[in-house]
């Protein structure tokens, strides 16, 4: 039974990692790619490590696996938020079909040095 659970967890984890890679390649702008890279990969790595813990069923291995999962769950959103904030400040263009950009109205409150033009403006060249 536990063998089956670990098989399912490992395959699901691999699938989510594949989804994360696909999303990072195919989604149209950085902020959507960031979403795929963060959420799908956290879930994928969590499933893989849980599968490993279920497969071995030893205290030391389970503890380490849970530790790594907790670390990812804590740090992945922080890292993604920092990259998104820096990318917005640098002026990475949003997708052409973006409907709202609420941060632009609050840029002084967010203490981001955004120029007067919207980020999708061609005048502002993102850092290469």
């Amino acid at each position: 039974m536990s063998e089956r659970i670990s098989v399912v967890l490992l395959v699901v984890g691999g699938l989510f990692m594949l989804l994360a890679g696909l999303g990072v390649l195919r989604l149209p702008d950085l902020f959507m790619r960031l979403q795929a890279a963060t959420k799908a990969s956290t879930l994928g790595v969590g499933c893989l490590l849980l599968g490993l813990a279920v497969h071995y069923q030893e205290l030391g291995i389970t503890t380490r696996a849970v530790l790594v999962i907790a670390f990812f769950v804590l740090t992945a959103p922080v890292g993604a938020h920092m990259i998104a904030r820096a990318a917005y400040a640098v002026g990475v263009p949003l997708w052409a079909g973006t409907l709202t950009d609420e941060l632009r109205e609050h840029r002084s409150a967010a203490r981001l040095h955004i120029p007067e033009e919207p980020p999708e403006s061609p005048k502002r060249q993102p850092l290469e």
Binding site: V8, L10, L18, G21, G51, A86, P126
Partner: protein, 96 residues
């Protein structure tokens, strides 16, 4: 991978390794293509996470649970790299 192997955790781990390898390839294309520096940072961050997942799958596939320790270290270092890149980018934007 033989077919009678697929019902075991080893077979599933091998399948997961193949899928993560494919994901690493796709992410690497994004890393090469860019087009901006933050895109590359996101791709590098994802490559780090995928490597941790691949090590976990490899530990099951080859029955070497010791490999979980390098995965822990890689998770720590990857997060630090992402944070360093992000703060560097933000400082660069502020200095303009």
């Amino acid at each position: 991978m033989s077919h009678d192997n697929l019902a075991t955790a080893q077979g599933a781990a091998e399948l997961a390794i193949v899928m993560i390898a494919l994901a690493l390839f796709l992410t690497f294309i994004r890393l090469v293509r860019g087009p901006t520096l933050p895109d590359r940072v996101v791709a590098l961050d994802l490559i780090g996470v995928q490597t941790v997942g691949m090590i976990a799958a490899y530990a099951v596939a080859t029955d070497r649970p010791v490999l979980l320790d390098p995965a822990t270290v890689l998770a720590l270092v990857g997060f630090l790299g992402t944070i360093a890149f992000a703060s560097y980018l933000e400082r660069r934007a502020r200095d303009e």
